[in-house]
């Protein structure tokens, strides 16, 4: 079995893999636990999608933790929450463009792992540089020539990128190879049962990642009819033929943000970053309570709500009410009833 890094830039092997994937329109819906069990394998490279904690597939990441996957290689563009798995053997190394939570600072498990040498950093990137690597895979070119990263220490601490001369002008350019991650999990607003997935808000790198990754799991807030998607394909970021599994996962981006539907759980995120994950022991206790001690998003959310002394339904309502409302217009234009036609409170009532 080759190391994930040997597959990461192997365009021929990636093509052979994709040639073998079925194009049949079959119902790919399955429980999230089944999808993670089947398609996230020990030793895989796992690329982060969305923008870390905006439209990130958090439910799937927690499920990866629950199933105790081993030796994953993270691709953080940007990323963070997955970096905690190395403290439980779940991640052995990573490729880093960014790991952190912006103004709220560093992610302690990542810091501890890299400083202690237990989490390897295989390469440093800029966001734009790694975005181009994924884009190269989508565009079907071997590499991209760009003007980022030149002259800096990133060039010395990334064995995959190269400085070269532009053959026309002779000026220095940075060559970024096409990147082919083993597995990507994309969280979208709507998907049909075949895997066509659409979003509101920025795709970030997701259209590129959908084409680049060998295995693709789509998790969605809601399953919709395929005719609904075909009537308006403009916000589709992932087409069915790249998708291996479709999982309905309401509140799947929690405690992150899902544009237009619910806002960041700022309280919980602050607590995780500043308190719960501050020490290795704290992270372990959190992992046992929140990940191993729960079965899914609603159990986990109920736990978070109870610790704050708030009823889970109130907790959900609060996140929902904070959502940036401009998304509603967009959702309406998709022809699903002139706006959001469901409430998480209702979904939560059934689940809790």
């Amino acid at each position: 079995m080759s190391h994930a890094n040997d597959r990461l830039f192997d365009h021929q092997q990636a093509r052979e893999w994709k040639l073998k994937k079925s194009r049949m329109k079959r119902d790919k819906r399955m429980p999230l636990s089944d999808a993670v069990a089947e398609f996230v394998e020990d030793g895989d490279s796992l690329v982060e999608t969305g923008f870390a904690y905006v439209r990130g597939p958090m439910a799937a990441y927690w499920e990866i933790g629950r199933q105790k996957k081993k030796d994953l290689v993270g691709i953080f563009t940007p990323g963070g929450m997955n970096s905690a798995w190395h403290e439980f053997g779940g991640m052995e190394g990573c490729h880093v463009a960014y790991v952190g939570v912006e103004m709220r600072g560093l992610i302690s498990p990542f810091r501890r792992g890299v400083e202690a040498g237990t989490l390897k950093v295989y390469s440093e990137w800029s966001h734009g540089g790694l975005a181009l690597g994924l884009r190269a895979a989508e565009q079907g070119v071997n590499y991209m020539a760009c003007k980022s990263m030149l002259g800096t220490d990133i060039m010395k601490t990334n064995p995959y990128i190269k400085e070269a001369q532009d053959p026309w002008t002779g000026e220095p350019v940075c060559l970024v190879p096409a990147v082919y991650p083993d597995v990507a999990i994309l969280h979208v607003h709507h998907a049909d049962k075949y895997g066509n997935g659409r979003i509101w808000g920025p795709a970030v790198n997701d259209t590129a990642i959908a084409a680049a990754a060998r295995k693709v799991i789509v998790t969605c807030e809601r399953i919709v009819d395929t005719e609904d998607i075909r009537a308006n394909p403009y916000q589709v970021v992932v087409p069915h033929y790249v998708v291996d599994a479709v999982c309905e996962s309401p509140l799947g981006a929690w405690p992150g943000e899902m544009p237009g539907l619910y806002y960041f759980d700022r309280r919980l995120q602050e607590r995780i970053v500043r308190v719960d994950w501050k020490t290795a022991e704290g992270t372990k206790a959190w992992y046992e309570e929140y990940i191993l001690g729960t079965k899914g998003q609603f159990e986990m959310l109920s736990l978070a709500a109870e610790e704050e002394g708030i009823h889970p339904l109130e907790y959900v309502k609060e996140l929902e009410n904070l959502a940036c409302d401009s998304a509603f217009c967009s959702l309406g234009s998709w022809g699903i009833g002139g706006g959001r036609d469901w409430k998480y409170e209702e979904v939560a009532k059934r689940a809790i």
Partner: protein
């Protein structure tokens, strides 16, 4: 009486920083905005002298009309009413094409040539502190026309040379950016809680432009890990005006997410 009142305007160091930052943005400019205080400075400029300032965020959002201060550079408020949302590679592509005038950044360390470190403190292979990594900072500083850095002013944050160059300034001095193949004018202003710095045109070394009220050039030198160029025309940074503070407190950051 009015003069006395004016001199008694109270503000926090972060409020001063936000006001100073906002003054550097002209109307009609496109500004690539990083998280935190740069975000506050850019939004303040838009509500004051630069209504047609166009904000760009690395998640792909361009020219939004946020009603609430975004919590992140990918938060929904960064694309509230945005006319277009690009992908990450396209938004940097637009910068390379020449559509980004100003880049607005933070970071852990900045050196005398304006190089920024956001990767490691100490040796790369055995870091004392592992930081976040570049994010979009390297691209912003490689591709935008002029770059503004904001940060806390302590000797360890302003070393002679950074431990790791994540984001290019003038690298090792005059001509180095051109030799490396970088675009744009490089670092332009550094706003710290002590003063405003620029860069000497000939030597590319950091120079003092103004010291904040209550601070002297000597103090700034003491808190800087290398010798600052101090030209004869350094001045005191103008204090925040009542109007700036009112807009900042009431319209930009009413919940005091960033300016406290």
């Amino acid at each position: 009486m009015n003069d006395v009142q004016a001199s008694e305007i109270q503000y926090t160091p972060r409020e001063l920083l936000a006001c100073v930052a906002s003054r550097l943005i002209n109307d009609g400019e496109s500004v690539f905005v990083g998280t935190g205080l740069p975000l506050v400075g850019a939004l303040l400029a838009q509500k004051l002298q630069a209504p047609d300032m166009m904000a760009i965020y690395e998640c792909g959002a361009v020219d939004p009309e946020p009603r609430v201060l975004p919590w992140s550079v990918a938060c929904s408020w960064t694309y509230h009413k945005a006319p277009i949302i690009l992908s990450m590679s396209s938004v940097f592509g637009h910068s390379r094409a020449g559509y980004s005038d100003v880049g607005f950044l933070g970071g852990a360390q900045i050196d005398m040539y304006g190089n920024i470190n956001a990767t490691v403190i100490g040796d790369y292979d055995h870091p004392k502190v592992r930081l976040t990594g570049s994010g979009g900072a390297n691209d912003i500083a490689s591709l935008c026309e002029r770059v503004i850095f904001m940060g806390l002013h302590l000797p360890e944050h302003f070393p002679e040379r950074v431990d790791y160059i994540t984001t290019p300034g003038f690298l090792d001095g005059p001509g180095a950016r051109e030799r490396a193949g970088l675009l744009g004018g490089g670092p332009w202003r550094v706003i710290s809680h002590l003063g405003v710095m620029g860069f000497d045109e000939e030597t590319c070394r950091m120079k003092l432009i103004s010291y904040h009220p209550g601070v002297t050039p000597d103090v700034i030198q003491q808190f800087t890990g290398f010798e600052l160029v101090v030209p004869g025309d350094v001045m005191e940074t103008p204090k925040p005006t009542e109007e700036e503070l009112r807009v900042l407190r009431e319209e930009v950051d009413p919940n005091q997410l960033f300016v406290f």
